[in-house]
Amino acid sequence: MNASTLILVILLLPLAGALFCGLVGLFVPALRQREGLIGFVGTSMVIVPFLAVLYLFLNFDGDAIVVSFYTWMAAGDLSISFAYRIDQLSLVMTLVVTGVGGLIHLYSVGYMHGDPGFWRFFAYLNLFIFAMLNLVLGDNLVVLFLGWEGVGLSSYLLIGFWYTDLKNSAAANKAFIMNRVGDFCFLLAMFLLFRELGSLDFDVLLIQGPSLNKGVLYLIVFLLFIGATGKSAQIPLFTWLPDAMAGPTPVSALIHAATMVTSGLYLLARLSPLVLAAEGIMALIAIVGALTAIMAATIAITQNDIKKVLAYSTISQLGYMFLATGVGAFSVAIFHLVTHAFFKGCLFLGSGSVIHGMHDVEHQLQSSGDSGEFDAQDMRTMGGLKKFMPSTRITFLIAGFALSGIPLLSGFFSKDEILFRAFESASTNNYGLFVWGIGIVTAFLTAVYMTRSYVLTFEGEPRWPQAKKIMPRESPWTMTLPLWVLGILSIVGGYIGLPTVFAHGDWNLIHHYLGDSFGGPVAEVQGEANVALSTEWILLALGATIAIVGVAIAWRWYSKHGLAFDETLRARFGWLYRVAERKYFVDEAYERVIVKPLIGSAEKGFGPFDNYVVDGLVNAVAFITRGLSFVLKYIQTGIVQTYAMAIVIGVILVLVLMLFG
């Protein structure tokens, strides 16, 4: 099979699945409850593309394959085609999207069982996969942008999936609107690139882009970065992601942890030669990434909603990836993206399994007559779940350890590689040590909040009402199988990028695959590796120690004191804790700085303008027309002969003109 057929298969199957699930559900209500059929179609439309990508991956010979299907628009110098590119970077991304995506589809079959919107859910999910594949496979910025907006749309639809609850719709709107800010900047960057280079194809951009005039290049990369902060939830546009947890949990795992939120990283990695040439913006990216990482990690410690903890953890880990991008380690950012997709996907699915179990508890409570308030996502009502949900517990633990950076698990390798590269870059820039330090502190916080979340959920005694009588059950196999697969990947996923201390970096497979010094598409800083091997051993040991110490301390604190320890923390850190708990008042600041002034100025400034100037103009037109008609209406005498007279006079005039004119 040739590449272009395979690309068509990869792209069109998810679209076909979306259309099938959507249209069948819409027009044949009888089939809506056929969960087996819809789940099978929805899942296989992602698994088959995964196999196709795997085939392409195994037969890839190192040269980028570009296939153009159709010229979308051609106007003057602008020519945009539906062109797709298979190279190392897009292959890695596509494998993650379809692989993790397929597992999460399977998981959703179990998780969404019995939901009246089952068909709708799978239609949206397949639509998301289609858009995401356009994003990562597109060969020009316009196709990428098409996918970029497509994933935004499906994210909106899925966050607001249970739209009867106003809170969910509001969260969906928030995500959509905040992303719009970033998308606007992305568009501006595209316009600038087209003005400067006359093309939006990656081939042209990557070759001619870096030699652009510095000022323009800085502006372009800055705008691209703002676009990326919107999609990837970085300061200042991160507040939509925690709210996006209103969607069903598989959505949080797929869109808001594993794939969509990493598309900002993908954009920067794809255009890495341009980003590398804009040193000043690199510093900004690294610092913003580091600050986001530590800020989100501190918030995560204070949250009680199991999904909120993971949401802030995702923001924090994305911050790490931006940090890596900022110090020029693009391939490491992609490496962390891959391992993060594994362990964070696993954690989210595990939390979904827990919530599934807690909903069970909620139903049993209601049927036993206890109709008190119960939040199935609140860790304060969980505890002791390890007895009831062994598979969920073990995979959650593995993935949590991987996230914390326990040695030999995947997160350890990718996170330490990021920190090492930050440390290494300090010899050529003056922000490397700063972001490295923040990264180290964040690593400790990560270990603490992850352990807290695990211990509060699975260890200790059950804390829900009537815990003696009511017991949750383990989830069905469709949910535990993806958990196990992702759990195992969280263990072994790190071995695709072993650090330099082993075999002088020859075993760093992903680096050799992606890096441009080895023929890959991702640019790298020139002239590196000036840190002694012994130093790297020390850094590695430091990272491992911090992770182990963090986990150990938090484990002791929380298994001994349980929930009460949060109060101890609150007492000890005082206002710092409260600030973190209230999410640094970012939402409130936006409310005060942007929303309120906007509404205020609309009421005071633009309201009267609209009333008197805009409406006034419209009214004036109507008024003049009416005045004129007041005079002119007397022409309409209603007597036929007057009209005939007008015709005759007209004919005479024409005749005179023809004869004498």
Binding site: K633, Y634, Q636, T637, G638, I639, Q641, M645, V648
Partner: protein, 101 residues
């Protein structure tokens, strides 16, 4: 004295002007209808005269069409006038002014 083309044309112009003036200034709808017929026949006269003068029978054929159409027009016109008269008991056009402002 020989009757030349000009005589015909002048006669038909005269008839046409009489027709126009009749349409514009008479008040009786039936007279207006007759004036319209007069204008049509003035045109017919022109057509016949010119056809004879140029040796082309197409003009004469056209006249038959005009006569046929004029007959139809008279039939419809008279029917309308009868309908109006039944409704308003008048055939004075200055009183038929429903479309007045």
């Amino acid at each position: 004295m020989e009757v030349t083309l000009n005589w015909y044309l002048m006669l038909s112009a005269l008839l046409f002007v009489i027709g126009v003036l009749g349409v514009l200034f008479r008040r009786n709808v039936i007279v207006i209808l007759m004036s319209v017929e007069l204008m049509l026949n003035a045109v017919n006269l022109t057509l016949v005269a010119l056809a004879q003068n140029m040796g082309d029978p197409a003009g004469q054929i056209l006249v038959f069409f005009v006569i046929a159409v004029a007959a139809a027009e008279a039939a419809v016109g008279l029917a309308i006038i009868i309908a109006i008269f039944r409704n308003r008991l008048t055939v004075d056009v200055t009183e038929i002014n429903l479309f007045k402002y």
